[in-house]
Symmetry: D2
Subunit: 478 residues, 4 copies
């Protein structure tokens, strides 16, 4: 099948029958439901790119696993060159204004599961790696998109799984059968999952029952999605919410596993604690790396929007605008540097997968999340008071009020009023819409908390080596 | 009438017949229109406070102008004690979660117009001050709320009024008659104006036609409001948007003056340039002072919400939470200090009005606008991934999905699940809703841009004195 | 004696015979020793101010305790007016470029000891308060300066006094006699103490032996000062180090108490734990308040120096300089607001002393310490590369090289080269000298660590009230 | 000669006879003069590294120009691999505590002159490139170190060279002869230049006389160095100033060119304006790249010192220390990422030299300069009050006072007191010494001002492309 088209992706969703609830009702057909439109459209972006003549070459790669041309999104990276090629493809994608297509997870879990299953087999004489190989082949052949189930509800965060009042606060194996396992629990904020083609679900806690990893179809028996609509306007507003009417965030879902059966062929870990040092770091490094790429693309959009509205307002050359633009451009350069550095300083796992170095992108993730508030300040400051106060499109199009708005929303000479209105609306959509709120949340908590990344970074940074350097400098020791 | 009740205020709106458009349609009755509900409810807060036994005393003051008990919101401050009393009243108001009641403008314009008309009369042998005195009496007697029209569309911001392609880009006097003036132009982002009882409109540019200040009824002939709905959910969602369903921002309006007649009795400046140094600084100092008070109250709410959700998540004592709370509390203390300092270091204008010192609150305004992004980071970081991903209330109440959500949204023991859900929704409403976007915009651009405040601060700070100190320290000069 | 002159202060030091070591040698006469010059000169500033006709009135106050005119530095504040008067005096002092005169401690300890002794007497039927009253009278009559001994070495900071391997790591009472107590231990970084007239020493730990407070002469038997020289140039360089040659920091001392006897008349606490809630908060609030005042004065000097050098370089009107100056001026306004607010919102202790509210100045202290690095950036950025690279004064005065330097150090027309050289040297002394390093350390650690102030602030900020507000807003609870 | 030893480098300085003044006196022999010790020792570090068996391989490279093994510091990079190898060598150098060896300039000017001369020859039929080739051969064969003269005094910064009252405020050609040119003017803050083996001097202004670039010996006729001593303690204090006694900054010099003759063979540009787009960007990109590498090494030292003292104080595991360390480690990762990214995204000039991409390191330079104040805060906060207040080494070694200091400077059990003293002194030397002041200045102004780098970054960042992306997103245009 090589690369699927946007239509083939959407068609595949129609064939799936997940149990989906939203707003208190069961949704039979998510594809045509307004709450899912924007999310599915966002996920479809990666399929569009694959058909875009300008990017097709970058989007395609020869798979050494199935010896066919496949989408780069399903490719298992093997070396630095693969990593740099991906950055280039992503950079192309950066020209699409979609802030989050969510295809990253497909790549993240395949890399992590590939390495982890290899590692466990080596240490425990299991045969998980073959399972993962088969799944990778299936994904590559059919150009699938994978959803992730990583975060359990956790209940009281100061307690572990076994100490919780309710044992289901973390997902766990309730039965091991000859042909597979039965799992119970839930996964919170599983972005986009109802419109993916397969799920990868993990829990990595103790005791043993709480340590498991598997793949499963989205319409498996016993699995329920309780969804929250995309952070998009109720009806698409192409002028007022130019981004969020099309790509404005994903449907978020809680996935409830009410004794779901998973055949052994789809399991890749089950109780082998030692693999925690493989799966987590690879999943995380990959995901942060992808996150930083998308964030950098979004920064470019913010910079462009700021430069544009300043120009339309007639203050394109004001010193404070210049300074704001430079500050934002510096952030973009720094973030991009983190992405490149993680690629160049990556490493190859014994199983053959190439993994970006986590620290640069952990730092980049926190850095860019903290910069968001500052950037929005610059954007709104350049746009002026009309952000959040501009009249509706309906009034702009109205024969009665339209003439006033056309007259009074005019900016500098040579710029059509409508262009200025659209530019201000873009700033508003990026900084002051419901979507903007979701995006902020995704930047802060998406992928994990600041503390978790700092802990990780602290493990990788060689403090002892630096202490030795300090000792030598201070004249301490031998 | 002394102090109006909430109902009397709303009743007064019913009697007014402003020409209001919203969403392409004329709105006959704004009081019962859903788009205006939240805005009117926010403005009504100051009337509620006046009836609240706990605050009634603070909310009332004896007017030396009409020798009656009046609402403190319409009082002309005469000394530091008045200013400190207002801070106390505002502090009480801070216990209401309303982020913006908009009554500040009533006070701002009365102080500025009072002083300015006095000043002009002295220099130009005019008799504006009597006009203002009569208006103040009317406002005080009837406990009115005033809307402001300060910001013209401006067109090309690099050009002045006379250089614009369209002469109406700034409001101006098109005719001076014996009995009054006729004005033309527009005022952008005039918050809440359709549901006030009177408007104060100014332009302070040159040439002379562009220099004017007056009061006018909201339903005067030739005035059109083109509105944007409150940044509230389409239908009130008491659990999901606990703030913005009730107080979630105001209706914003463009006011179009299509040859509006204003009798001389309502005019308080008309071509007397030199008064620019009186009106602007007093209006600004007063408004920034009020803005900082409201922002400080909002910080308390943010701090409380953060402490609450951390507690519900079982991490109330985690060091990083402690640090976040302290950082926010420091901001609140600093901002409050700016408010107190502006009051204590205020000055009395010859006309008798007491004016807060502008620099502390100009600094406080910029400081607190820049802190907003950082505070939201702390809030979302403490709340975790459910901000922006939580399922809808309908699913929470549903017999099918509700049981899962009740089970899996549970936090630490002893906290009802619904309380935790509500606490997360509060964080979401404060940081990631459409209202949150509007609030950010209001913090950044509301009242003027950073550059305008810096320019102002630079005029007040005595750089020459500091240079002299530096010279003395460096051993330069005599 | 009323107010002492600078000379009388210095004369008083000559009469004292403290045991002082510095650089491995015993110093018989500190007054004439080069390492002490700058420190004594700094302390003398408060005596100079008292003789300065411009400030004399502010510097004097009628003492209700001894019914004589006294120096305001020894005055026990009784109300807000006292506090505001002190701010005014300090503001006058701000015109002296001395960054730290250290007279603050005199005021801090008198307020704290006055209240604490009163409190203990009430609870324990002791008679400490009379002791303190007598000491205050002595201080006021003779216009003395007090040194403080607050910080013990602490050893292993993760352990308390009793757990330390060496029991002397915290100061403690080793013997209680009929006529007094004997103490042992040490006090670290006791700024300026050798050239004060009396010491106030405390320890407030458990067990009981480690809880004590007393006054003692500087030349008491058994007390040794081990000093570190002022952070001043080895020989005064009036042009190269214009600040630090005169006021460049104090002598720091470790005070070792090797079984020092203190008569009961000089003791004001000894084992009465409960007083910890009185002494610490009052000492701290007073000290932070004073610290913020001095820091604000120093900010003015930094602002003036920046404006001056920008002017001399011919870029006084460049937008980035304007922005830097405004940022610094905002910081100064904010810090000053914290000072004013702490005064206005202060409280009177039962014993009659008026105490500033701690939170605004705790916040101000941390805020201003963190701003120092940023301000230095602005200062050096405005001054340019000559900071840290300029040739010596000797070369500037040399007949051979002087002509080149005179020629090539020239700035904009109209500014004598020497003035520009001096202005750059001022920036250098303020940002890049050894003194600048000490000043940074004093801003960060002086008075206590960030964590200690946050802990304090967290005790004062009413988190529960804010949580209640949040609950109400979220619709939680009854 | 291949790689010189440290001794050979110093011997070469003895053979040179530059005209050097310092402190008003002429210095005949700089090698043995105390003011030059630390600077020469710092420059010698690169020669030491070349002899260090651990780094020798990295420090050596086969030169395709002279077909010999040469020092990597004199190598002309040809591709990304060269760039990555240099990063590795620098990383090794990072284990030396020297903050600035100044060998960077050698590499910077060779790359820039190589490309520029090639470019000019192509456009103007000149033969500069051969000159540069010969110079490169000489440098490589003899392992020389080059000093730079880039910054003219500038006088009034708001005016260009021709508008200055004194025409010599910018360096210029006063005579063109058949055999060479004669130049007049001065170069300010030329770091380390008296102890290099050759100078590269440029001016790139108009009119034509002010556009010139050449190499010249340090002891050429008519050239005078007016020096400022290294920012090191007057006498080396191995314990008190462990860094700055050995590597504490360089001698800074003003170089005065009083009609200096330069033969044409040493000139590589002279009036060919168009080359400004080649020389500046390559010099700058190279220099910023090197600067970021050194700064990252210095960050590691700061991190190590902080971790060390926290450990010695017994608070190595305190949450606020963990947070400080992580913040600093993130900065180090980000800065290193900028270095790697600049290398990987570099480009090859037609002349064959490989140039790092400037934007990442321009951003990194500003980022790291602004972080310095923050990092010092963390460092001092972890170390506590003894920074800047600790007694002298002489007292520590004294038989009288030493026993007290040994007792009371003790930290946590298991750590010798002297080690703790040394660790605190290291923090002090890095954050609060005169050297620390110079280092701050070098981070801020070294290599150019923030504004100049922003201007540069603004030229490289593609704002138009981002505007186009914004337009597309907003629905503006075709």
């Amino acid at each position: 099948m090589a690369l699927r088209t946007r239509e083939e992706y959407i068609e595949s969703l129609r064939r799936q029958k997940p149990k989906v609830y939203l707003g208190g009702e069961e949704i039979e057909n998510i594809v045509d439901h307004p709450a899912f439109k924007v999310g599915i459209n966002s996920a479809a972006v990666t399929y569009e790119l694959g058909q875009d003549p300008q990017y097709r070459e970058l989007a395609t790669v020869m798979s050494p696993i199935i010896n066919e041309e496949i989408s780069r999104w399903t490719h298992i990276m093997r070396d630095e060159q693969d990593a740099l090629a991906k950055i280039k493809m992503w950079s192309g994608l950066g020209n699409y204004p979609c802030p989050c297509h969510y295809r990253c997870i497909t790549s993240d879990v395949l890399h992590a599961a590939w390495a982890t299953s290899y590692e466990i087999d080596k240490n425990h004489n299991t045969s998980y790696h073959r399972n993962v190989q088969e799944i990778v082949k299936e994904i590559q052949r059919n150009d699938l998109i994978i959803g992730g189930g990583f975060v359990s509800p956790k209940g009281d965060r100061s307690k572990g799984p076994a100490e919780q009042a309710d044992p289901d606060m973390y997902l766990h194996v309730v039965e091991k059968r000859k042909d597979g396992i039965v799992v119970r629990g839930a996964k919170a904020h599983s972005t986009a999952s109802p419109y993916t083609n397969m799920l990868c679900v993990i829990e990595m806690e103790s005791p043993e029952d709480y340590y498991v990893g598997f793949f499963t179809p989205v319409d498996t028996e016993g699995l329920t999605f309780i969804c929250r609509p995309s952070h998009a306007p109720t009806e698409p507003k192409e002028m007022e919410n130019p981004i969020s009417s099309k790509f404005g965030g994903h449907v978020e879902a809680m996935m409830v596993f009410d004794d779901v059966f998973v055949p052994w062929e789809r399991v890749f870990m089950c109780g082998e604690y030692d693999s925690v040092i493989t799966f987590g770091p690879i999943l995380g490094a990959s995901h942060l790396w992808h996150k930083c790429m998308c964030r950098a693309g979004n920064m470019d959009l913010s910079i462009g929007a700021t430069a544009l509205i300043a120009d339309y307002n007639g203050v394109g050359n004001a010193p404070h605008i210049f300074d704001s633009l430079c500050e934002m451009a510096m952030s973009a350069e720094i973030l991009r540097s983190c992405v490149v550095s993680a690629a160049v300083e990556g490493w190859r796992h014994d199983s053959g997968v190439f993994v970006p170095r986590p620290s640069p992108v952990a730092a980049g993730k926190i850095y860019s999340a903290k910069k968001l508030g500052e950037h929005r300040y610059y954007m709104q400051d350049a746009a002026g008071g009309l952000v959040g106060t501009m009249a509706t499109e309906k009034d702009y199009r109205s024969p009665i009020t339209g003439k006033y708005l056309e007259k009074y929303y005019k900016g500098r000479e040579g710029v059509p009023t409508e262009d200025r209105v659209r530019a201000i609306r873009l700033i508003e959509d990026l900084t002051a819409s419901e979507f903007a709120g979701w995006y902020h949340a995704m930047c802060i908590s998406g992928g994990g908390s600041e503390l978790s990344f700092k802990t990780w970074l602290a493990m990788e940074y060689d403090f002892e080596k630096s202490k030795l350097k300090a000792k030598k400098a201070a004249g301490i020791g031998g």
